[in-house]
Symmetry: none
Subunit: 208 residues, 2 copies
DNA sequence: CTTCGAAAATGACATATGTCATTTACAAAA
DNA sequence: TTTTGTAAATGACATATGTCATTTTCGAAG
């Protein structure tokens, strides 16, 4: 028997979820919390196997609540429900160790998702997983040609973003240190940056 | 009733999987293929809801076979089995639109994973999902207390990673420039880094 | 061959940076 | 009160960095 706690600040939603899950023979809804705060309070005494939680809530939101709960030593698998496909939320959810992230709309698959999560697998809604490859492959939001960045300069940028000094870059590229210095200078001018640290920041924020 | 096709070049494994799945009342193993090539052939006539496939196989491997099958118009949800945690494979699997990626070892959860996949959710083995945040944004968890990083130093790190100079940081924090300089120096020593650019890189790779 | 132009290199310079030893300020503990 | 520990600041120093003007190299175009 899988014990579940439901967390949603909309009573209608949490009620519906309870009905859906209680209808399953091997799932039992042990508690329903109407806020993140309440969930944090209830979690230790209820000790559910799975927490089904809305990610958007008034007051303490889902990720915050889940984080607190997990910090408090709960071994529950957290399954987030959301109406939105928000990269931010996905990232946060993954970071705090959530075991699932599915879309409210397809609540028909909720029971099987709960079971999978309870058995230690991670579950993501189909639409969510479609986004993963893009996130994985770090798409560039930056077009080097727009700024007249040459291929060699692009290489230098990469090295700077690896934390290498001009001297080290020079060795890697078989160039003089002064040359690299000039190239960095040229890059900074083109990108309107001040120093190599800003260049590294730019790289991680806009390029990678 | 969920129809399944099993693909594994090890007859013992595919046999075991068949037994496990056939034991479920709502799952039916319609076909067993012993190679990627065979799977590609069988898929159109079997038209399974779910394909449970080993990712490492002689000849055509799992991702290649799955790609072919999906290209041929199959609407099956592909659930990969693997003994390894290989970033390469995860990436490929996600890219071609696989709906699951779980570890052979925990085959106990296979039925619930199959159900979840069949209902349109994506499933990842627990160990796999632990890797996702890193893959998603190259961030490992970093515990400041491990390195005796003080809260104020943490703030400085953030400013450095915004590309601010020591002077600018000093103004923001109402400190002397020299003080900030010392703090940066202290941080670099603690984290075993050489300069602020490396610190910025560290921030984007390990923190945030 | 000569000319041309881009890439590479050099040298000089000002500034930012990182390290270190030392001092000051200040609050908590004795 | 004095003592003590820590954060903050200072000053000195070597080095790295970024800018700029200039020169060299070298291959392609004439």
């Amino acid at each position: 028997m899988i014990s579940v706690m439901i967390v949603d600040d909309d009573p209608f939603v949490s009620g519906s979820l309870k009905i859906i899950l209680d209808n399953e023979p091997d799932i039992e809804v042990k508690a329903v919390a109407n806020s993140g705060e309440e969930a944090v309070k209830l979690a230790p005494e209820v000790a559910p196997d799975v927490i089904v939680m809305d990610i958007r809530m008034e007051g303490m939101n889902g990720t915050e609540a889940a984080q607190k709960i997990l910090e408090n030593g709960s071994k529950a698998a957290v399954l987030f429900l959301t109406t939105f496909l928000d990269d931010e939320y996905i990232n946060k959810a993954l970071k705090i160790g959530a075991m699932g992230y599915i879309i409210k709309q397809d609540c028909g698959s909720l029971p099987s998702s709960v079971r999978a999560v309870a058995s230690g697998q991670a579950v993501f809604g189909g639409k969510v997983v479609e986004k993963l490859p893009d996130l994985l492959n770090r798409k560039e939001r930056f077009d080097p040609s727009e700024f007249d960045i040459t291929p060699k300069e692009l290489e230098v940028i990469g090295f700077v973003a690896d934390g290498l000094s001009n001297k080290e870059i020079a060795e890697k590229m078989f160039l003089g240190e002064g040359t690299v210095r000039n190239m960095v200078s040229s890059i900074l001018t083109k990108l309107d940056l001040r120093d190599r640290t800003q260049l590294a920041c730019f790289y991680y924020q806009k390029m990678v």
